[in-house]
Subunit: 435 residues, 2 copies
């Protein structure tokens, strides 16, 4: 499973070089890690290694999806182009109440994993209900994952009694802590769907077990209004007042932040994950990513779930992210492609639980992808910035996670994708009857 691999004759991703890559190099992999890399002139064949001739391809770190509700693939495109509250209360919540079962979470997370692997994602931070089933699916596919059991103060799939929500998350962590590629975590849904007591207890649990803590924060302009009964300030200040912000906390969305909120996040060393396409599709707004980065906040990139995107392709997300912030800043030099590449490869993000971030370097976990540059839309290839502005997930040819070849020439090797699609299509036929 973790035999030696040598990728040869490749361009190597090197974001600090002017063009962002070095030509004609190799990467050697063994025991799940990068054991050597450099120009082909220095390549020494290892007798037992599987050799991948990557001529015409670029080797780069696998992409890190900082926020997903993977099982929501079942609801991909179920209810597009609707006002937010209609979307949630008339379509998504009823569909979840009826169709979210352990089996659904297992198969639909597997489908998400197929899509993510095929578009170059090697690590995902997932958050949903029945998260044991999501974790089981993710581990089987060979992906690296941070899996967070959802906590919400309503009866939820798998946790009918909200009084049990934090305890259920604790049991989830107990079952998965110590896994090889999976880091369990806590996901408190939001400041407006959890009481302050629930939020505090959820963070206490995360602290006690030393696991990451995720929360949706300031996704919509209306969130302050939803908090009005318990707090008069900004949602970020509310989290701060509850002592929820530290370096193990990841604030997802973080759209509606003022300067004070940004300084709070920076001072607390909390991280942020931005989901630009989801925020556009639901008309939530634009997160102040350039300002967060300037303040020293770690910012990762996420797709959000398929019900509000509707795909899990981080290449498209990078493109949108870079362009959106130019528009927001009225400055074409804002949020450069290179910065976004660093966000998506975990190089600059270093999100809690994402051990694999850090780019191509000896000793790093071997989570790498091969991008096929030998295509019309990637010709010419002056620099890696074209990965942001011209590449798509379908350009990913092969995927290695933790030193294991998970996809080769666009064929997933670790599980049966056709079976997975068939299972989800069967479930979707039932969902469709509800429409």
């Amino acid at each position: 499973m973790n035999k030696k691999i040598a990728i040869i004759n490749a361009k190597l991703f090197a974001p600090d070089a002017p063009e962002g890559f070095v030509a004609d190099g190799f990467v050697a992999i063994g025991a799940g890690r990068i054991t050597a890399l450099g120009p082909m002139a220095r390549y020494v064949p290892a007798p037992s290694a599987e050799v991948i001739d990557a001529c015409g391809s670029l080797v780069m770190p696998g992409l890190v999806n900082g926020h997903n509700h993977a099982a929501m693939t079942l609801f991909r495109g179920l209810a597009d182009d609707l006002p937010l509250m209609d979307w949630l209360t008339q379509h998504i919540f009823p569909a979840e109440a009826r169709f979210v079962t352990p089996e659904m979470v297992y198969w639909c997370t597997r489908l998400a994993a197929a899509e993510m692997i095929m578009s170059g994602t090697t690590t995902v931070a997932d958050a949903y209900f029945y998260e044991d089933e999501a974790a089981r699916a993710l581990v089987e596919t060979g992906m690296r994952a941070v899996a967070a059991q959802g906590i919400i103060d309503f009866p939820a799939p798998g946790v009918p009694d909200p009084a049990e929500n934090v305890a259920a998350a604790g049991r989830f962590i107990g079952r998965w802590q110590g896994s090889d590629l999976l880091t369990p975590a806590v996901f408190a849904h939001s400041p407006y769907t959890c009481s302050s007591r629930t939020l505090v207890r959820a963070k206490e649990l995360a602290r006690a077990r030393n696991v990451p803590f995720f929360i949706h924060l300031a996704e919509t302009r209306a969130e302050s209004g939803l908090l009005a009964a318990k707090w008069q300030g900004s949602p970020a200040a509310y989290l701060q007042s509850l002592d929820l912000l530290d370096e193990q906390t990841v604030c997802v969305h973080a759209v509606w932040l003022d300067e004070h909120d940004i300084s709070l996040l920076a001072a607390s060393r909390a991280a942020v994950v931005t989901c630009p396409q989801s925020n556009m599709k639901l008309a939530s707004g634009i997160a102040p990513v350039a300002e967060l980065l300037a303040a020293g906040v770690r910012v990762g990139l996420g797709t959000d779930g398929c019900a509000s995107n509707n795909d899990l392709d981080l290449f498209g997300e990078m493109d949108t992210c870079a362009k959106l912030h130019k528009l927001r800043s009225q400055d074409p030099a804002a949020l450069k492609a290179r910065d976004v590449l660093r966000m998506a490869t975990g190089h600059g993000a270093g999100l809690p639980g994402f051990a694999a971030g850090g780019g191509l370097a000896v000793g790093r976990p071997a989570d790498v992808i091969l991008v096929d540059l030998d295509q019309p839309h990637l010709t010419p290839f002056y620099s890696v910035d074209n990965l942001v502005y011209a590449a798509g997930g379908a350009d990913v040819k092969s995927v290695i996670i933790n030193g294991r070849l998970v996809m080769a020439d666009r064929r997933i090797l670790t599980f049966d994708v056709a079976e997975t699609m068939e299972m989800v299509a069967g479930m979707a036929a039932e969902v469709k009857k509800m429409r």
Copy 2:
């Protein structure tokens, strides 16, 4: 070349149906047109037809790219993330002055055609210099095109004397009018790079020859300032004052329009092409597409050239377009996916010169594409809206233009793509030395 084709067992694009498609249908093609279509139950095999079993695929009209400078593929990613004037004056203009030759336009347009066909575009409106070479390349690839010779009041590639610019465009039209798949047109670069006299003469030429007239309009907020010496009002009002607006005029970008400008465009029956990704990347702004559509203006979708996008994938452009206008309107119900599909398939756009618009119907030109839905990221497929929010150009399996199979199973049949990429890569190596 134009033998009979029968596409069977397919989903058929039908944007007025609730799901936007009908299952299990066929499309019969002969003499360049759709000769029959309907449910498989009504399919009658024709003895001489080539049969394409499209099980798992959707047949839809080919996409229409309303604005491109195709030969600019050579400059794809040459200069990203730069302020607009630096980008233009320090990088793009010098590169064009040095590298735009007839040979460059021919090969780089061919490369663009490969990319466009491979991402489902069957018609393109192109505008550049040495447009004869672009037209020659486009005709050879089998694409349908509107090709416009550029007019600008500076010495330009192929037209060193600006006094000759309108006459050169006239000669171009003379050479190509009456072509089978190619409609010649006039492209006056912009109100700020052409004098009022040039603009009037260019439009007179277009009127005299009854060809479409393209112009960049109100791309940046600064454009009014650039016009200040000759006109105090809006750029749109300036065009109106010169009598340039009629139903054969296409205003490209049209970002900075006020209500009066929108009513001028509507009253004149001029069309608009919006290029959302280019407008984001150059931080130009967001065109008021929803407002233009509401006023009854025909609006098409374009990629713009590769130097400011950096790809020619209209699927990505549709996605961005729909999401961007939700953000702009702060309304997730704004600019629905179905509306954007209509824009991109020419159904609602009906741009000047785009004879092929109009969707799947008997008697229409057979410009159709097959989209492979049997993939994780397109599962489930509740409606065609997922073409906007989840599909990408790489999902296009086969392309038929004017009844001719131009791409089958992602292999282009009409020209040598590898040779084309090699030629352009050779030119790019020279460009790179200039950096």
